[in-house]
């Protein structure tokens, strides 16, 4: 079976193909790139918290934001 033909039911009862799903992900990541620098630093601090707690990386320094 061609993976491109696999359909997925997503939020809002939309049916899309895997190919479309990946393509939308690329677009979403590009949108994230347009967030403000301040917003990105806030997300970075959240990622550091996540790495420390969930990831068990106890050497990670969580920045004071």
């Amino acid at each position: 079976m061609n993976e491109d033909n696999i359909k997925i039911l997503i939020k809002g009862n939309r049916i899309i193909s895997l190919k479309e799903l990946f393509s939308e992900e690329i677009e979403a990541r590009k949108e994230m790139a347009n967030l403000s620098f301040e917003e990105k630093i806030k997300i970075l601090v959240d990622l550091q918290k996540l790495a420390y707690t969930w990831g068990g990386k106890k050497d990670v320094i969580i920045w004071r934001s």
Partner: protein
């Protein structure tokens, strides 16, 4: 991070550094989607060069920071208000990257960040796997001036390395 940038601006105002720019992962973060990183890389052009050009002396900077109670070191990072900062002397390519960096505002603090083209060239110079990943992100998500990038790559003999390591069409 706001206080860290204020402190770096103070270094410039006090004449300890001529100029600086944010590079490394945080520099890249300005242009691409958020990703995890540990430290803030600040590339600095020093006000005074030592007599021995091969020895870069950062002591005056550390002394200033210590006078302002920033004395804690964790590994190679000096902690400035909860942010691990690494000061990297800007020489050659990185010096040009600092000179060509653009202004950025962070919570009302004016700072400078390297442009995607110079970040790509610097990541390429380092050439580690994590650097190549950042190059890919920049090429995918940032507005890269390819003419400018090619000029920088040629000037610093990085064309062949770019083609070999990234496998990406310029």
């Amino acid at each position: 991070m706001k206080r860290a940038l204020e402190v770096v601006n103070e270094l410039k105002q006090k004449g300890l550094i001529l100029d600086y720019a944010i590079g490394g992962a945080i520099g890249a973060l300005r242009w691409v989607e958020p990703f995890f990183t540990r430290d803030l890389d600040v590339f600095i052009i020093l006000a005074k060069q030592s007599k021995n050009n091969e020895l870069v002396v950062l002591t005056p900077i550390y002394d200033y920071l210590a006078e302002h109670d920033y004395k804690e070191w964790i590994g190679q990072w000096i902690m400035i208000d909860g942010v691990p900062v690494e000061f990297i002397p800007a020489i050659g390519l990185s010096k040009e990257a600092v000179e060509q960096a653009i202004s950025i505002d962070f919570q009302g603090i004016n700072s400078k960040v390297m442009t995607p083209e110079y970040l790509i060239a610097l990541f390429l110079s380092a050439g580690r796997d994590k650097d190549i990943t950042k190059i890919r992100l920049l090429l995918e998500q940032a507005s890269v001036d390819h003419k400018r990038l090619n000029g920088i790559l040629k000037k610093y003999n990085l064309v062949e390395k770019f083609d070999r390591l990234t496998n990406i069409k310029r």
